[in-house]
């Protein structure tokens, strides 16, 4: 007996739905695959065990490297969490003199690349730096070596706390003050409110910010090399640049990845226990009025962070820039600036769009496979930039040689590489590296959308796209803006991949900084560094004004 028309119709609808489901699922799978490609190249380095190098590392420095890396991770982890969360809470929930300005001023250090802060601090504090010279003026025998783990931790913390601060801040903003009001009405004091109500609700965002800053710490090469502080990353570079053993370097890098995978899994565990949902527009009618000396203490605390992490370093850069102006500044700066901003803006839009689609697909049609793909997509950030760049270069080189160039010739083109040394290649590399940066903020805000809302919308006949544009986007606004900003600024600061993959003539400010710092001419790097910081400030200001 043939099935009735109604049954057939239902089957067709099911098939359509199945197809749609798979189309959506393809997005995270593709993104994960893209990140996996260069990572796979790195992992495939194990095909040839570099026993000699490993033995040598084990005999001479492996323990030291592990200890140093661990000290750095613990130090920076504690530092950025304490600093970022406390500042975010003070700036969003409490009230003190100058709070409104402080709220955005605290994001400013984000614009300073780690390597820049490192050479500024060392320039100020080194043996012939102005501070030691001054002190020796009074005490001729005064000499101190500031190149120790504590300084490195302080520098990294000063640059990376904005990740935690921004994510925690957007979590506190979306919580709204009514949560705080309710808990105060129910008899909790300020501290209890913070620890028992706000903090648990903001935990997914805080953990996301923390994991970003830890990944950045793991991958950092610039700051640690200025201080000649040996970490896992410096060992990677040493194997590559000194032993010319890219295989061993890649193997070390894949171990680094292993750390990260474990950290990401832990993070997901932390997220799943976070209870934070939002189904309404947050209200901010009320702020905790700090009393008496506390007001000024809070103000002093927040402003001193701005002073030490931003104002003083920028002032030092400014001083150097004035000295070097005649020698260094020329018309090419407009071009450097243009390239830097263009690359940053394009990448930010691309990366955040893909992140959004990915997470949206996961939410609507996700399964364990897509979940895994998203985790993989978030790994690109942890690899040291230049290791990732090499992975990308090897992939692109292969694709060019085997597929794209023959195709191009078949279409009547030349033999020039398609991906290598082209803009597309560079943007792809940024995508691979910075997906994780956008994932954090967008994911933590998408998880706060209560499932009943999209369900209600769907039951009222709202289509998937309409759901995205009318429901999700407005609700995710703080997260999306944060993600755009982070990616934009991160791309502008990015150095190794830009160096290796940029097309001819596409020099950026970061490239210029490399040219100078590689020669040890820090003062000459001041003008590009200062320009980079100032350009990085604009989006920060824009985001603040719009995120209010």
């Amino acid at each position: 007996m043939p099935p009735s028309a109604a049954v057939l119709e239902r089957q067709r609808a099911c098939r359509r739905n199945g197809l749609r489901r798979w189309c959506w699922r393809l997005i995270p799978l593709l993104a994960g695959f893209l990140v996996l490609l260069p990572v796979a190249v790195i992992i495939s380095s194990w095909s040839d065990s570099q026993f000699v190098v490993w033995r040598h590392l084990y005999d001479t420095q492996l323990l030291e490297l592990l200890a140093n890396t661990l000290i750095l991770l613990v130090g920076v982890g504690v530092g950025v969490t304490v600093l970022g969360v406390s500042l975010a809470w003070l700036a969003t929930i409490c009230d003190f003199p100058g709070r409104r300005y402080c709220e955005w001023a605290l994001m400013l250090p984000l614009a300073i690349p780690t390597y820049v802060l490192a050479f500024v601090v060392l320039g100020q504090w080194d043996y012939m730096g102005p501070l030691q010279l001054l002190l020796r003026h009074w005490w001729p025998d005064f000499r101190v070596d500031v190149r120790n783990p504590l300084t490195v931790i302080a520098i990294m913390t000063g640059v990376l706390y904005p990740y935690v601060y921004m994510l925690a801040r957007s979590a506190f903003v979306t919580q709204g003050s009514d949560v705080v009001e309710a808990s105060r009405v129910l008899g909790l004091n300020v501290w209890q409110t913070f620890f028992r109500v706000s903090l648990p609700m903001a935990r997914p965002a805080i953990v996301a910010g923390l994991s970003l800053s830890l990944m950045e710490t793991l991958a950092d090469f610039g700051a640690v090399s200025v201080f000649n502080f040996n970490t896992f990353t410096t060992a990677i570079y040493k194997s590559w640049f000194g032993l010319f053993n890219l295989q061993a370097a890649a193997q070390l890098a894949s171990l680094l990845l292993l750390f990260v995978v474990m950290a990401l899994l832990a993070e997901r565990g932390a997220r799943n226990n976070g209870r934070d949902e939002q189904g309404r527009r947050p209200q901010h009618h009320f702020r905790i009025k700090l009393q008496g000396a506390r007001r000024y203490l809070a103000a002093a605390y927040c402003w001193s962070v701005v002073l030490f992490c931003f104002a003083l370093p920028v002032l030092q850069l400014l001083l150097w820039a004035v000295q070097q102006y005649a020698l260094e500044f020329d018309r090419r700066y407009w071009q450097l600036l243009q390239h830097t901003v263009l690359l940053g803006a394009c990448s930010a839009v691309i990366v955040v769009t893909i992140t959004l689609l990915m997470l949206f697909a996961q939410r609507g049609y996700g399964n364990r496979l897509t979940q895994g793909a998203i985790t993989v997509a978030g790994m690109g950030y942890a690899l040291p930039g230049s290791v990732l760049a090499v992975g990308v270069v090897l992939c692109f080189g292969y694709l060019d040689r085997q597929w794209l160039v023959p195709l191009q010739q078949w279409l009547g083109g030349g033999t020039a590489p398609v991906l290598m040394g082209g803009l597309v290649g560079l943007l792809l590399a940024y995508l691979v590296r910075f997906l994780a940066v956008a994932l954090g903020p967008v994911q933590s805000s998408i998880e706060r959308v209560r499932p009943s809302i999209p369900e209600a919308a769907r039951s009222l006949g709202c289509s998937q796209w309409r759901l995205l544009f009318r429901i999700y986007l407005p609700m995710l606004r703080p997260g999306i803006l944060t993600a755009l900003l982070l990616v934009l600024v991160d791309v502008m600061k990015e150095m190794p991949a830009t160096l290796l993959l940029r097309p001819f003539g596409w020099d950026t400010l970061a490239v210029r900084i490399f040219e100078m710092t590689a020669e040890g001419e820090w003062q000459r790097a001041a003008i590009p560094a200062l320009t980079l910081v100032l350009v990085g400030l604009l989006p920060v200001v824009v985001v603040i004004r719009r995120a209010r």
Binding site: Y127, F241, A416, F469
Partner: protein, 348 residues
């Protein structure tokens, strides 16, 4: 709301499409146009671009270039394979050039001009690369605190008399790796191991990230002597002179009774898959001629490789010296050995 929010990035993207893509990104055409050259260089832009500009003005050849560290450039060349747009690789340090040649990305060049202008020990035995400038690694000391006669050789810095008086740059820098490689060649691995161990024992403070920092530590009185490349000394001298001060440090040329001081090079080679091979050879030949040699040495206070050229007045003021004429390839062949030896000695 959403569109308002997106307006800025969209606007930027439009600007990008309108302006950026019409840029001379040079990756579009693969046709071998005459009068074109593509250079990958790990010599920094401000130290090489003046030469490109001069050559362009003289010959009309358009030179495009990309800068990066030596190892990434080599990886890029290897990944691009026969599609590479690069005609020439310019890099510093003999070890880096040797590795590039070993990896097969450089091709032999038959050129009478280069054989005439570049001494044999400063070019590859297989003519795959040629030095274009020379720099020496010397001892820089504080004349106030170091008595005449205390200094003699690199090896002597391991003596007990230098206990707590020595500063060094990190062993991660290729210049130190090459110095130790030539020491292994001259003294043998065992003796060199002892010497490097002695250096480490004598350190007044942890190794520095660059030569300038090490010299500043000597100026500040943290230590009495250090080992640096000559042009860093020149730069510091210049910076002090600009402030109307005299640099309170002096250069000492070590090992004058033995093999002579360790010299390193910056050099160039033609890539294996160069699309403009003839042009590339012409350009490297031009680099070895007196005029370009003069420019090269003036830009960065280095020594010319062409015997007919002279160093700048500032460089000549440092005095004359005997140099180690061991073939530069040694720095590449023994680089890994040197790195491991320094690791074993705890030289960070």
């Amino acid at each position: 709301m959403f569109f308002k929010k997106c307006s800025l990035p969209v606007l930027l993207a439009v600007v990008f499409v309108l302006s950026g893509c019409s840029d001379d990104s040079g990756s579009g055409t693969g046709e071998a146009a005459t009068g074109q050259l593509v250079v990958y260089t790990s010599r920094k832009e401000h130290l090489i671009k003046p030469l490109f500009d001069r050559y362009q003005a003289e010959t009309g050849v358009n030179i495009q270039f990309v800068t990066d560290a030596a190892a990434p450039l080599l990886s890029r060349l290897q990944a691009e394979g026969e599609n590479t747009p690069a005609d020439i690789l310019v890099t510093v340090d003999g070890g880096n050039l040797w590795h590039a040649a070993e990896e097969g990305v450089l091709s032999p060049v038959e050129s009478e001009v280069l054989v005439r202008n570049v001494p044999a020990h400063l070019r590859d035995a297989g003519n795959r690369w040629f030095a274009i400038s020379k720099r020496a690694r010397v001892i820089v000391y504080s004349p106030e605190r170091v008595k005449p006669g205390e200094l003699s050789s690199y090896e002597a810095l391991a003596d007990e008399r230098w206990q707590g008086r020595l500063c060094l740059r990190t062993s991660k820098k290729v210049y130190n790796q090459s110095l130790v490689a030539t020491m292994i060649e001259a003294d043998g691995a065992e003796n060199t191991q002892k010497v490097v161990q002695g250096w480490v024992d004598n350190l007044a403070t942890a190794p520095f990230a660059n030569d300038i920092q090490a010299m500043q530590a000597v100026m500040a009185g943290q230590c009495d002597a250090t080992v640096v490349n000559t042009y860093y000394f020149g730069r510091l001298e210049e910076a002090m002179a600009a402030k109307g001060e005299q640099l309170p440090l002096k250069i000492f040329f070590p090992n004058q009774d033995g093999r002579g001081i360790h010299v390193n090079i910056s050099g160039a080679g033609v890539t294996t898959y160069a699309k403009h091979r003839t042009e590339a050879i012409k350009f490297i030949e031009w680099l070895s001629e007196v005029e370009a040699q003069q420019m090269l040495t003036d830009i960065n206070q280095e020594f010319p490789v062409n015997p007919l050229s002279k160093s700048s007045a500032e460089v000549q003021a440092w005095g004359t010296f005997k140099e180690d004429d061991v073939p530069i390839e040694v720095t590449g062949e023994r680089q890994a050995e040197a790195v491991m030896l320094m690791d074993k000695a705890g030289y960070r």
